[in-house]
Subunit: 378 residues, 2 copies
């Protein structure tokens, strides 16, 4: 734990020295101490657990700064759709061209559809740009993308195993959408009221930390439920945060402030853990070329798909660029898809490693480009 | 994680309903869901890891509210000494009387010498009594007790294995005392200055959370070092906290406030995890009688030893009572000693369980009595 925090700090220093976001520094430090280079630390259950707590808390905090009306827009759905179709097709074609079988190519395409909301949201927050139009478009589209990605994953798995059914796929998506809708409504109308009542009750006078514990429990509960319906845990935490947006308490300790402090510690560890997860030693030379091509395709297809969709909807050229770049990071989601393919033996160890490293590269590149774009702008 | 937080909350509610400290409620909830009763959750590495983070953060926060001059007093050393000698003798005699062999009796005596600073410090803090004379005496004596307990443990292990040497024991104690002294001085003069310089530097302007991460790293580093020299991790975190007492920052986010929020979440989980650790199913009827006698001896010897020592030094009758009770909880420290005895096969499973349950009972009883004593007083 102490070592992880030390790494996170070193990441901050590195990030500030190379004039980049702290995220970039943290991930690079993670790669350096992980099995790829120094081998000082491996991705144990403990590191994973702490990292997951970080991701959940992070999206909860980001969620609390977002109004639902700002992100739930049909046009963001089109950006998300373009960000799923283009990368899927690109990944599938590339993998086929490299001679993979049908199953492998489908999985590579699916891995490219993911968008990791954690990276972009955090980078935008660090730069203080969370309230810009482009940021809202990215976050709205990324949440929808998670639903579409779930659709793609379930269809891909069915296609590969040959038991595709429209009814089954429909049920999966219906569950996910129902969770998002009911989760938001229950949080916004039910839980908010509950917290307000708690805030006035006797128990908070004795234990001002009570609402804070309750709010964190709520965030983790939503994260867990999201995983149950097949969405990523962080999207659940995000919805929990969004549904509590704008709540004001008088007697309790501020849970928004408390969550922020948790986020500082565990968010930093999350990014370090992403770097530790990567093991480049599994890369053969053939896989290396595939990796490079895959990374280019990954960035270009998301960038072109989402950027184009944004531009067509009348966003400015620079905002479209920001949306295109902001949707690019695959983060831990593509890694999870790849792991699924590996355990199902649809893809081999080398493809798995290539997808993981691609995911890392898209994740590393995003904050760097975002920073440049915003600096040029403002 | 969500479930653990839910349990912590239920503990708060239970504590407030039975008009007791939240600690009592949390431990009871832990026992209820643990293997003893419902078996909903077991003491996995994850639960243990999170609980340990809680204990470390907790003592760091308590430490930051304590001046070293208030607790480093010779007379508190006498209280601690009485609190080691009486319980050791009582435990040894009781175990011999119950027919245990020499090794087993020595281990039972040693398990009784422990004082868990976490429980009392937290209960006193919850009641807002951390700055009273009695509280300072308890905390000062409990820290010294940890050193003496280490001495007792190392001597006991040597006595049992028959390789006792004065030189070896001396080295162990010298290391522990040197860590406490140098740790405090390095923290108070070196790290405090470092943090102040950091606070004025450019990096904090860009990342106001930097000092917070640094302070937490410092706390965990001390906790780790303390374990290396044989002290408990929480005493290390406590010294880290004490050495940073009174630091004021201008640009950074307050790490004292941040640590407090971490403490709220993870401290609560720590107490729940203490309850989960206990498994009463291992108790035979013979062990049950031993357990009851052991618990009485545990409370009476600490109470009489420390209380008497406090009274002889001129503390008021009620403060002496508070010191006597405050030194009673064995917490997780006796559990660790018992586990050591079990793995060395010096004590059997039934004695192990008896010691663990005794530890739980002393821990449960302390906040209840402390609350009564303070209520009667004020």
């Amino acid at each position: 734990m102490s070592f992880l925090l030390f790494l996170a700090m070193a990441g901050y220093l590195l990030g500030s020295r190379i004039n980049q976001s702290a995220i970039v520094g943290e991930i690079l430090i993670g790669v350096a101490v992980g099995p790829s280079l120094l081998g000082l630390i491996t991705y144990t259950d403990f590191v994973q657990g702490i990292g997951q707590i970080g991701a959940v808390v992070m999206l909860f905090v980001v969620g609390m700064e977002i109004r639902v009306g700002d992100i739930a827009k049909i046009r963001y759905g089109l950006i998300a759709l373009a960000g799923v179709v283009f990368p899927w097709a690109g990944g599938y074609l590339l993998a086929s061209w490299f001679g993979f079988g049908f199953g492998g190519a489908v999985f590579v395409g699916t891995a490219l559809t993911a968008t990791s909301i954690a990276i972009t949201a955090n980078a935008l927050r660090e730069m203080g740009k969370l309230q810009t139009d482009a940021a809202k478009a990215i976050i709205g589209a990324a949440v929808i993308d998670d639903v579409l990605g779930l659709l793609a994953l379930s269809m891909s798995a069915d296609l590969v195993s040959g038991v595709f059914s429209y009814a089954g796929t429909f049920v999966i998506i219906a569950k996910a959408v129902a969770f998002l809708a009911f989760g938001y409504l229950a949080g916004h109308y039910g839980v908010t009221r509950l917290i307000r009542r708690m805030d006035r009750s006797g128990i908070v006078k004795r234990y001002p930390e009570f609402t804070f514990i309750f709010a964190m429990m709520f965030a983790f509960l939503y994260a867990m439920t999201a995983e149950l319906v097949g969405l990523s845990a962080i999207v659940g935490a995000f919805i929990a945060g969004v549904s509590l947006e704008g709540i004001r308490l008088s007697n309790s300790k501020s849970f928004a402030e408390g969550a922020e402090y948790l986020y500082i510690i565990f968010g930093a560890i999350f990014f370090v853990s992403l770097g530790i997860l990567v093991d480049v030693r599994g890369l053969t030379e053939a896989a290396l070329w595939f990796l490079l091509a895959l990374t280019c395709v990954a960035i270009v297809t998301k960038f072109a798909g989402c950027g184009l969709a944004a531009r067509l909807q009348g966003m400015s050229g620079r905002d479209s660029l920001i949306v295109g770049i902001g949707m690019s990071p695959r983060g831990e989601i593509a890694m999870v898809v790849a792991l699924m393919g590996l355990t199902d033996r649809v893809i081999g160890q080398d493809i798995y490693t290539a997808v993981v490293v691609m995911s890392l590269l898209t994740t590393l590149v995003t904050p760097i480009f975002l920073k440049r774009l915003y600096r040029a702008k403002g």
